[in-house]
């Protein structure tokens, strides 16, 4: 399994580099905005950084899922790997673990930074203890849901469908978060979407001709 994960990371290193880059940019902007404000609490501009983070997570990970499957199909990677001592299930799990790692590379430093900034510069209004964890869990699930959609679209169609799929999902998810917030129903809907999408991808990937 480690070899398969390593292969996936090496093949999709661009996504990891992009995650590091975006994470670094967002951290730099957040820290800079917080220090340059009146120090009465987190700047609304810093909080607004959540929006580009969501967009990067949604589009970036949908593209990652689609590219993993698209490259697999066109370069017949699974076709080779399946003749070696690995199962198709292991190939898919390695792929998903790689995406989760890439998401953590993007979100974990941001979450840690946000938690530290909130501790150093507590806001004037009260916030509950799991505020940051809930926000970043929801963003993670959103990115993961889009990734699952990307896996499905990349395995069955060309380049246009994954892009359209990501757009549709963004259109649905952003209002959903605005209306419902980051926790509660949003998480349930995202988990259901992830479950359905992964089940379909698993069924398709393990039964199709390679």
């Amino acid at each position: 399994m480690f070899t398969l994960i390593k292969r996936e990371i090496e093949d999709h290193i661009a996504y990891f580099l992009a995650a590091v880059l975006f994470s670094a940019i967002f951290i730099a902007i957040a820290v800079s905005l917080t220090y340059n404000e009146d120090r009465e609490g987190p700047s609304p501009a810093a909080l607004a950084l959540l929006i580009p983070t969501i967009i990067v997570a949604v589009f970036g990970f949908c593209a990652m899922g689609a590219s993993q499957m698209y490259i697999d199909r066109t370069r017949k990677i699974s076709s080779l790997l399946s003749t070696l001592p690995v199962t198709r299930g292991q190939i898919l799990i390695a792929r998903i673990i790689t995406a989760v790692l890439a998401m953590l590379v993007l979100l974990l430093p941001l979450a840690v930074t946000a938690a530290i900034l909130l501790r150093l510069f507590p806001p004037p209004y009260p916030i509950y203890p799991h505020y940051v964890a809930e926000i970043f869990t929801a963003i993670f699930l959103m990115g993961f849901a889009c990734y699952c959609l990307g896996l499905q679209l990349g395995f069955s169609s060309g380049k246009v469908a994954p892009t359209l799929g990501a757009l549709v999902l963004t259109i649905i998810l952003v209002p959903l978060i605005i209306i419902k917030g980051f926790w509660g129903h949003t998480v349930i809907i995202l988990l259901l979407l992830i479950f359905a999408s992964l089940t379909r991808t698993w069924q398709k990937f393990t039964s199709t001709s390679l």
């Binding site: 080779l80 790997l81 070696l84």
Partner: protein, 305 residues
Amino acid sequence: MSDTVIKIENLVKFFDGRCVLDSINLNVPQGCIYGLLGRNGTGKTTIIRILLGLDSPTRGQTYLLGTQSQKLTPKLRGRIGYVAEAHNLIQNYSLARLVKLCKDLSLKWNDKFFNHLIETFRLPMHRRVRELSIGMRAQLNLSLAMAIDPELLILDDPTLGLDTVARRQFLELAVDLLQKDGRTILFSSHILSDVERIADRIGVLVGGKLVVDCPLEELKKRIRKFRLIFPESAPTDLHLTEIINQQIQARELTITVANWNAQKQALLETFKPASCTEIPMSLEDIFIECTNPNPAPITDSNQEM
């Protein structure tokens, strides 16, 4: 382990409503070199892909090393070497990276043998797979398949793209491998002289059906071709069964018959031909005769039809 390494039971495969494989039954015992022959598009690669679990059958079952193809575990896959017809290697990888990947994923890896093969084939490890010629890709694929010291080697037209010297090297390697106890090879090829040189059992696919499945020597004994010259015009119907091919030119009749036996010989003699000459047949001649549209089935003597 079961004595039957490859088992196919009543295999049927449809592609877009077209029957590609029609009720194929096949058993390959341990230690056998089985040559699977057939013209392009007769289903050789499909059989191999279904055996490896890369494709699913429409009906029927296939087994490798005693396990159903769709349920092959990684441990069992580690005992099977495979060379694909199109050499499905990851094109943008360097040879070194591809070899490392295969080595890391394999359960067993014979470094010494692999390095020997790489030196024999003079493969440049620093180059990318896509920069290699078809022949070099075939050599690399073969080296990767052989390095795991497989119990069962499945080769789908492995010598395609190889020059004469490399082909000879490959055949010697295959023979070397077989000399190790109990190794089995299934291979399909268009180069019949290669098959004739190493195979000890032959299967011929025609129109999705396995019309020949018997040991090579027996095949040569059972398919006979005669040139008969009659005093007057040649009879149009000899009342013989299992005629593979028949050509009449005035007094001359050329006939190819499957499952030749004394009864058929006696029946032929009742027509009192002026002369009867047997024409020796190579595997290539037999293949050409068998791949005509309606050949008679030729099976093992112990599964007489």
